[in-house]
Symmetry: C2
Subunit: 282 residues, 2 copies
């Protein structure tokens, strides 16, 4: 735990009094979590010498974040995303090694009912004439490099207008998503349009905070993946486009060096080769 | 800043990436506050190895706290109160010495329009037959013990049913509150009923959290004071009753040893002598 150098005797006594109260929490895990939470909350306020006016701004901000949230869109999740907390929770829970494909945030647009599609099929159900085609393929393997057969590869992405089907009544419900299965050599493949970058929503209270921090709301260009197979830990990940200008400033801190691909160019279409390495189940 | 021992290389990289983003915040103070906030938020999640399920519980809890809040009652302020943050902000901002009367939380029931009353007058505007009478008196002085004349002493308290006038349509708007002024010797005095303890509201999302922590919702028995005089720092404080059983477990961590009084007993009424020592203005 921190020793905050600016802490006065009165501040220390107060923290000790609150921590003493937390000790009576019967549930071991809640006690552990609340002890750390109280410690860091007080460390923060002592460290920055938080003023009453700033405290009230914080109270009003958090209240507005709660009030803005709906069942369809939770502004606290967005706040967690843009502070890197969501990404941290994915990292902490996954406990992966450098060899395994990195686990990243799920985001708000995954849906459990994506259509199962044949190997190599297109996920474009709402035609987008003239959009550059991207053919994605890869191998799902284990930490020893052995192919994993019959793994499910669930993919979803935004359309070229930056919107997911949930945000865009002109798209079919099944547009730009699908579940594929690897063959005996661990291979999967599908066809889509080349993804674009798009901003996180900035019309809620988190928007002005990002503005004040001079932060870009843009997500780095990506396709979402969930890969699962019996005996292996499920990985939620992204494929990123190396030509995207927002890789360094991804609004939700999902980019990992190992997930950035440089697309190939064939006659009339782009290609991306994205291999996925699964960890054994815990 | 903390070195969290459980932090992996991936977690460190993520924290560094978020902190690098915070660096671009143009306002110096916002940058300072957000740097500390992000650091402690990540330290907390790494330290307890926060799981996705716990993260989601936290998101849902904070959302409920925001949604429960109204203009009249802010549940985030209550959450801040019961975690000792409000009390800490009062302590940090005041910067008092041991000799000066301690600054404590304002609470939600202070109102600016309390009636000015003559020295020794009663603040009971809604009669409470049979309630024990308390006569409060004291001297307002400076750090050298010299009396402060014409200081204003603004007091307010709950009725014997544990409710403030704002919560109880049977009480007059002016019941149990008033502003007094010290005489040439710094003396003030007023008459009231002996205060009782009462619980903080537990019908919002903070109630179940306190339950799970085995926390008492009771506030220690008190009378609120704001004392101000030209040339001195205004102090917001409480007078506490030494016979209250909740002094050790005050729900909002306002009790200070120096603010606890043992009431005297005269023929038919109680007495409390509460001297207040003001700091010079900053």
């Amino acid at each position: 735990m921190t020793q905050v150098e600016t802490r006065t005797e009165a501040e220390t006594q107060l923290l000790d009094a609150v921590l003493a109260t937390v000790k009576s929490t019967p549930n071991d895990r809640l006690r552990e979590v609340m002890t750390s939470l109280v410690h860091h909350l007080h460390d923060f306020a002592s460290e920055v010498q938080l003023t009453q006016a700033e405290w009230l701004m914080g109270i009003n901000f958090l209240t507005a974040v709660g009030k803005f949230s709906t069942d369809e869109r939770n502004e606290f999740i967005l706040l967690s995303d843009v502070l890197g907390l969501s990404s941290l929770v994915e990292t902490v829970g996954f406990g992966g090694t450098d060899e395994a494909t990195a686990n990243t945030v799920l985001g708000p647009f995954w849906q459990p009912d994506s259509p199962h599609r044949a190997a190599g099929a297109s996920i474009v159900d709402t035609p987008d004439p003239g959009a550059p085609v991207l053919k994605v393929s890869g191998v799902v393997k284990d930490l020893d490099g052995r192919p994993v057969a019959n793994a499910s590869v669930d993919v979803w992405m935004a359309a070229r207008n930056g919107l997911y089907w949930q945000q865009d009544p002109k798209q079919a419900r099944t547009n730009l998503r699908g579940v594929f299965h690897t063959d005996a050599e661990g291979r999967y493949s599908f066809e889509t349009v080349r993804p674009v970058s798009y901003p996180v929503p900035t019309d809620g209270p988190v928007g002005p905070l990002m503005d004040a921090m001079n932060r870009s709301p843009m997500r780095a260009t990506h396709i979402h993946f969930i890969v699962k197979a019996p005996g292996y830990q499920t990985v939620t990940t992204h494929l990123f486009d190396s030509e995207c200008p927002y890789l360094e400033t991804d609004a939700v801190f999902s980019v990992r060096e190992s997930l950035i691909l440089t697309f190939g160019k064939e006659d009339g279409y782009y290609t991306a080769n994205f291999d996925i390495t699964l960890m054994p189940a815990k």
